[in-house]
């Protein structure tokens, strides 16, 4: 029974529930949220009691055990403290928001996001496994994005949300790297192991990088200088969100991690200087800028930054007492800052503005709220009898003692006192400007006290501030010591939470800060003028924006340079890569290019043929802009290629090449009819040079490769085919037997390709109107006369003969050159002749004009032949054959593979005709005079 897991999951379920509940009345969502929070509290109570007794409760659930990623939840003092803050203050926020949100704001969405965030936050503090912790860490970033951008119509909300997401998200990624390495050092991702192996970690050479990566996560999350800028912009969120995120949760996650990993990472020079230094800087920067913010929430935002700096500094100082003080201030800051934000929200709510230059003298209008605000502000300033005073006192004391054993040690107390001065000053400003200081200036509406229950959460918090401030020993001491013990993983040092420690330096510093603060506020005018002059001079946000713009520029630049959308660019890159790769393979190693195989002598005819082919190829390049000529030359090349096949004992190839050649050329001729007859000379000389070089490199590579292989002896699996072809394949023509039997699967794929090409073309050209040119290249008008009678009648006579031939080729293919392809192509050519000679319309009247079924049945037949062998419990495409005695033909051999070949034949005929006839039909359609034939 994993109560902690349930406690973390409850808010997620609650989120869905709240969203759903809001459909049945705005306020339902609020009640659901409150109930869910209470349930979560109840769920952790048993473990909480144990934790309070000082033990560490750990619940595990396997997730990816193989890589040490378990769902492990841990509840010890620190986790308990944070869980209470998250849920307790969460409850107050839920109550507060119910009155804060206006009619226009969707309650369901708000509470759903809030609960998502609450769950993520709980996940962080209750995680035992650091990777799991990171998961929830990033979830808080995502949820805060949704919360901050809640008022999506406002640009500042959108930008603030994106900024928060980017900064904290980036930190999270650094944290992931840090945790990975940390886990590697400690040998586990489990905190209990990591916290126990602090010495190992600190001694590890990778300690510093890990520390830096983790601190990046911490500092971005906790808005530490110089990453603090996102926090003020997050103020665009509804005030309840700010009150939650910037008092007890979001930003506290960072310092929580500092506390959590304190035993593992702290106690080194790097730690104290990085953490302490950054903390101190943040403390000062925040306190200084807070004073000058005219926006109420802006002031609170910077004071939050400053107080987080204070906490960070405490952990940086690194002594046990400092850690205790750090935890203590976490509690105090959470309480008074939540109260302050709520008060600010009330004021904003009542006045319709947050500008302290306009909000004045509210004391008369809302004394009750004013009183509450004053107490919390006093806590923020560190006035005695309120909780803020105690932790600040401890902070001063630690600063002093730290300063005593440091060079320039006196600087530290001085710095923190200055920070104290400013925090007093801006606290006074918050009170005096808002509640006194004359009359309101042109407020949209006259302010008055808010609804009763809207103040209750603030009152609760104020009560806490006072109780802790006056009776610390009775109230906060126990939980503090438990939490501190968990942080230190050791019994906490003796600390005494008294208001009066006698005349200690810390007290003097506090007094100095109070007096100084009053003076600064009194003399604020010149300071404001000064600050106004420096406005925007030093702005971390501007740096961030510039970085972002630089990133966009870089991305756009790189992408535009690479992706020009030019096909030539694609091909050049491709061919170049191929050349480089091939060369890298060939050149490497000292193996000779030429092998030891005896060569064949060159005979004159071959020489002539080769010379002719080379000449033709080059000519086709030379003449490529005169397209018809180039095409004819290419045809010649194809013919010579088929001669080469004849020469080197490949009759099947020769026949195939020849028939494919015919069909291809016819096809290209028909196509050329729709294209410009000549091409422009447009590529620059430079480009032509580049292409030529690339072409020569590629050609050289291909030739070298061919030569290298041709001159080498090799042993192949070919012998097997020659042996088995007749006895087991039932055919003498080994090539055909390979095609339909040994490698029939290739053929199946190949006819599929052919069929798909035809279908694809058909689908592609559908509804496409091609316009035929009125005149040819030389400007002669095209001739629409009837087709030449002699040729027409001749082809009609030839057709049966051609069909007979193809049938013959098909049948004998298994034993002599021939087979499905060649037969199919011959048939196709014969029929195409009819179209060419007699025209599409005439032929259509006499031939089936629809070739889809032919293709379909062809594929089907091939597939069926293959499947048939299943019936005989043989693998797909297993062939069988037998000898039959036919009357006329005589002893005849029939192989099942022939049925397959018939399928091939059908596909070839169907596909070829579909392609060509379809194009022919477009001719028909494009002819002004002739009627368009029906396409299918």
């Amino acid at each position: 029974m994993n109560a902690l897991l349930l406690a973390v999951l409850t808010p997620y379920l609650g989120a869905a529930l709240a969203a759903w509940a809001s459909r049945h009345g705005r306020l339902h969502a609020a009640w659901v949220a409150a109930a869910v929070t209470l349930i979560a509290l109840a769920l952790i109570t048993p473990a909480a009691l144990a934790a309070f007794a000082g033990e560490t409760v750990i619940h595990r659930l396997p997730w990816m055990p193989a890589v040490g990623l378990t769902l492990a939840f841990r509840l010890d003092g620190l986790a308990l403290l944070f869980a209470l803050l998250i849920l307790g203050i969460g409850l107050l926020i839920i109550l507060y928001a119910r009155y804060y949100l206006s009619e226009r704001d969707g309650m369901g969405r708000f509470y759903a996001y809030l609960l998502l965030f609450m769950g993520a936050m709980l996940g962080i503090v209750l995680s035992e496994n650091v990777i799991q912790l990171l998961v929830f860490w990033e979830l808080t970033s995502l949820a805060s994005f949704l919360l901050i951008s809640y008022w999506q119509h406002r640009e500042d909300a959108r930008n603030g949300a994106r900024m928060a997401l980017t900064v904290t998200g980036a930190g999270g990624l650094a944290l992931l790297a840090g945790f990975l390495l940390l886990g590697e050092m400690a040998g586990s991702y489990e905190l209990s192991v990591i916290l126990a192996s602090g010495d190992t970690i600190r001694a590890h050479p990778g300690y510093v990088p890990v520390l830096i990566l983790i601190l990046l996560g911490v500092f971005t999350k906790s808005a530490q200088f110089p990453f603090h800028f996102w926090l003020p912009h997050a103020m665009a969120a509804p005030t309840p969100v700010s009150a939650y995120l910037h008092s007890a949760t979001m930003v506290k996650a960072g310092v929580f991690l500092l506390a959590r990993l304190f035993p593992a990472l702290s106690g080194t020079w790097e730690w104290s200087h990085l953490v302490g230094g950054v903390g101190l800087a943040t403390l000062l920067v925040g306190a200084y800028f807070a004073l000058y913010k005219h926006d109420l929430k802006g002031l609170l935002a910077y004071s939050t930054i400053s107080h987080l700096g204070l906490i960070t500094t405490l952990f940086g100082i690194g002594t046990e007492l400092a850690a205790v003080a750090g935890v203590f201030h976490i509690i105090n800051h959470a309480t008074f800052k939540a109260g302050l934000f709520m008060a600010a929200g009330i004021i904003d709510h009542e006045c319709g503005t947050r500008d302290m230059r306009r909000i004045n003298g509210l004391w008369r209008h809302m004394p009750h709220t004013a009183t509450l605000a004053m107490v919390t502000a006093a806590a923020m300033a560190g006035v005695p009898l309120v909780n803020g005073f105690l932790s600040k006192e401890m902070f001063f004391a630690e600063a002093v003692s730290m300063g005593t054993h440091m060079r320039f040690g006196w600087l530290l107390p001085l710095a923190v006192t200055v920070a104290g001065v400013f925090s007093v000053a801006y606290s006074i400003r918050f009170i005096h400007d808002v509640f006194f200081n004359g009359e309101p200036v042109g407020l949209p509406r006259t302010p008055h006290e808010p609804p009763r229950w809207m103040k209750v959460p603030v009152e609760v918090l104020v009560a806490l501030c006072l109780l802790v401030g006056i009776l610390p020993g009775l109230t906060v001491a126990p939980i503090l010591s438990v939490a501190a013990g968990a942080v230190l993983q050791a019994p906490p040092p003796a600390f005494d939470l008294a208001i009066w420690h006698g005349w200690s330096p810390a007290l003097l510093m506090s007094v100095a800060a109070l007096i100084g603060g009053v003076l600064v506020y009194a003399g604020r005018r010149p300071l404001f003028a000064l600050a106004a002059r420096w406005e925007g001079r030093v702005d971390a946000r501007a740096v961030y924006q510039r970085l972002l713009e630089a990133l966009y520029a870089l991305a756009a630049g790189v992408t535009r340079r690479l992706d020009t959308g030019s096909l030539q660019r694609l091909l050049v890159l491709f061919f170049a890569s191929a050349v480089v790769l091939g060369a890298a393979g060939l050149i490497d190693g000292d193996t000779p290019l030429t092998g030891r195989r005896p060569l064949l002598p060159v005979d004159g005819v071959s020489l002539m043929a080769a010379v002719g082919l080379v000449a033709a190829a080059i000519a086709s390049v030379w003449l490529h802009r005169r397209r018809l000529t180039a095409l004819i030359v290419i045809g010649a090349v194809g013919l010579v290629v088929s001669l080469i096949f004849v020469k080197f004992s490949a009759p099947d190839l020769a026949l195939t090449q020849l028939s494919v050649e015919v069909v291809t050329i016819v096809l290209l001729l028909l196509a050329l009819y729709f294209l410009p007859q000549t091409g422009p000379a447009e590529s620059s000389r430079l480009r032509r040079m580049r292409d030529a070089v690339l072409a020569l490199a590629a050609g050289g590579g291909a030739a070298a490769l061919a030569w290298a292989v041709l001159t080498r002896p090799y042993d192949t699996i070919a012998g097997y085919f020659l042996d088995k072809s007749l006895p087991e394949g039932g055919g003498r023509n080994v090539v055909n037997v390979i095609l339909v039997d040994f490698r029939g699967f290739d053929t199946l794929g190949e006819i599929t390709v052919l069929a798909l090409a035809a279908l694809g073309i058909y689908a592609m050209l559908e509804r496409l109107q091609l316009r035929a040119p009125e005149r040819d290249a030389e400007g002669r008008p095209w001739n629409w006369d009837r087709h030449p009678p002699i040729m027409a009648s001749l082809t009609r006579l030839l057709l049966p003969l051609a069909l007979l031939t193809s049938a013959f080729i098909l049948l004998r293919g298994h034993n002599l050159p021939g087979g499905g392809f060649i037969a199919g192509l011959v048939t196709a050519v014969a029929l195409i002749m009819q179209y060419l000679a007699n025209g599409v319309a005439w032929t259509h009247a006499r031939l089936p004009a629809n070739f889809h079924p032919i293709i379909g049945w062809g594929l089907g037949l091939a597939l069926a032949t293959g499947l048939a062998s299943w019936a005989f419990d043989h693998p797909f495409l297993t062939s069988t054959f037998g000898h039959f005695d036919w009357p006329v033909v005589g002893e005849f051999e029939l192989a099942s593979a022939m049925a397959f070949d018939l399928g091939v034949y059908l596909v070839v005929v169907g596909a070829t005709l579909l392609i060509l006839v379809y194009l022919g039909l477009m001719h028909g359609a494009s002819h002004p005079t002739q009627p368009a034939g029906e396409g299918r």
Binding site: E750, T752, G760, A763, F876
Partner: protein, 501 residues
């Protein structure tokens, strides 16, 4: 009784395709039913196959009963089954989205779709290099048809580039295969692995050249730098379900690279062992970086997702390039996630574009979409998946990858590239989402009312798959681990194919 399980996933789509071709005149509803039924059945077969090989068995299917290396054999091992399953699941949701009407907006959609699956299945299962070429051609020609489905000028331009480039690629493929045969005298991959290991000194450089040329082709299919430029245009212009299905296409290239790298040029390849190794990691990281930058630079949502597909190819290759069991396993776990996430992204992008009138998917502030919240919610989840943020499996995949990289010499580079790329993706998608859903003003143009539910169901289904991959991360990662170790012991594969050999 011979077991046909290994070939069934290949033949089923072929059969369905042929039937759909013959029945092309019957009522569209019937054809849809047939197509859908076939895909569902294909999922069943893929699951059965995965179950059959899960415990390490390698199924061999000798076509025509001809023994390897002479005949063609299909080889089903853990890797093939894993990719087959991913493909089948992806296909289901791509098809469901298409059934909303896109399939009727042009001819032969279902035929082409089924033949595409035929080509994919064959490519994943074949154990013969030339047969692999043939299936590459099948899936390419089918993809040409699908890409151009229901036309449009920009689509035609993208299609022309895609087709021409791949034709050049096929040529190179043949050069590579031919050289391998010319030197080693075989086409069966297991047999090649054996023969490669015994390459005599005078042939080493030829084998090297052939191997690298082969890598070149596969890199083109996998869209690796600098051969990635075809992808953004093609994917951004394809119709949504097609783009979604294409999410698996680059994975075919990566699969083949992984197969060839581990089987033929693995540690046991004697003189040419580790031939590809020096190329993989640099190419992978560069691809990842350029993909992420492209996503930031994109002006349209679909192009942005397409660039994220490029980035994911880089991520996967990074994992494979680690060449360790952990690394490969990380990649194999991440592969289905990134495939589903990208597919969901394309589908949602289409749902968005359809509601923004002229603006389509351009990343400019536009009108408020009808159903803004719902679509926005789905987009948010998909974006989290695409970036690889917690809690979804993308994060787990990256975690596994980085964890596997810990020992690697390039650790710093890998950490930096992967994490920064994630950040870039985050920035890019946060910007897009904010532009489309938040910075909207005014109502949408009177677009034809579209059924939101049927439109968002497929992407949501894909997200559910991602969620399942997250919850069941343990078993999934274990399977990936087992697959990786199987790949790193090619001897078992070879033995299974060649018998005693």
């Amino acid at each position: 009784m011979t077991d046909h399980l290994a070939i069934a996933p290949v033949l089923l789509p072929l059969l369905a395709g042929v039937l759909l071709l013959l029945l092309r005149r019957v009522d569209i509803r019937l054809r849809r039913l047939l197509s859908l039924g076939a895909v569902v059945l294909e999922i069943g077969l893929a699951i059965a196959l995965t179950a059959a090989v899960a415990d390490g068995d390698i199924l061999i299917y000798a076509l025509g009963d001809w023994p390897a290396p002479y005949g063609i054999v299909l080889v089903a091992d853990r890797l093939s089954a894993w990719l087959l399953l991913t493909t089948a699941l992806l296909a289901l949701f791509a098809l469901l989205y298409a059934l909303r009407g896109i399939d009727a907006s042009g001819r032969h959609f279902h035929v082409l779709f089924q033949f595409q699956l035929f080509g994919l299945a064959g490519a994943f299962l074949t154990g013969d290099l030339f047969n692999l070429f043939v299936f590459f051609e099948v899936l390419l020609i089918a993809s040409y048809g699908l890409l151009l489905h229901s036309g449009g000028a920009p689509r035609t331009r993208a299609g022309l580039h895609y087709v021409v480039l791949n034709l050049a690629g096929s040529t190179l493929f043949l050069f590579a295969v031919g050289t391998l045969y010319g030197v080693l005298g075989s086409l069966n991959m297991a047999d090649l692995a054996v023969k490669v290991a015994a390459t005599p000194a005078e042939n080493v450089s030829l084998v090297r050249a052939a191997g690298l040329l082969l890598f070149g082709v596969l890199a083109l299919k996998a869209a690796l730098l600098p051969l990635h430029l075809w992808l953004p245009a093609a994917y951004a212009e394809a119709s949504a379900p097609v783009a979604a299905l294409f999410a698996i296409m680059t994975k075919v290239g990566l699969y083949s690279i992984l197969r060839v790298d581990t089987l033929i040029f693995g540690a046991g390849a004697g003189p040419v062992a580790g031939l590809l190794a020096p190329w993989l990691m640099p190419v992978a990281l560069a691809t990842l970086a350029v993909g992420a930058l492209g996503a930031v630079a994109s002006r349209g949502l679909r192009a942005q997702i397409a660039y994220l597909v490029v980035a994911s190819a880089g991520t996967l290759l990074t994992a494979f390039a680690l060449a360790s069991a952990d690394g490969i396993a990380a990649g194999l776990y991440y592969l289905p996630h990134t495939t589903f996430a990208a597919a969901a992204g394309f589908l949602i992008a289409d749902a968005i574009a359809a509601r923004r009138g002229e603006l389509a998917d351009r990343l400019d502030p536009g009108p408020t979409l009808p159903g803004n919240r719902v679509i926005g919610g789905v987009f948010f989840v998909a974006a989290v998946a695409l970036v690889g943020l917690p809690p979804l499996s993308g994060f787990l995949g990256k975690f596994l990858l980085l964890r596997a990289a810990l020992g690697h010499a390039w650790l710093a580079g890998i950490l930096a590239t992967v994490l920064v790329a994630s950040l870039l993706a985050l920035i890019a998608l946060a910007r897009s989402g904010s532009l489309i859903f938040y910075r909207s003003h005014g109502p949408a143009p009177a677009a034809p009312a579209r059924a939101l539910a049927t439109e968002l169901a497929p992407p949501l289904g894909l997200m559910l798959l991602v969620a399942a991959l997250t919850v069941a991360a343990g078993p999934a990662a274990e399977y990936a681990q087992a697959t990786a170790s199987q790949l790193l012991e090619p001897s078992r594969y070879i033995h299974a194919v060649l018998g005693g050999g």
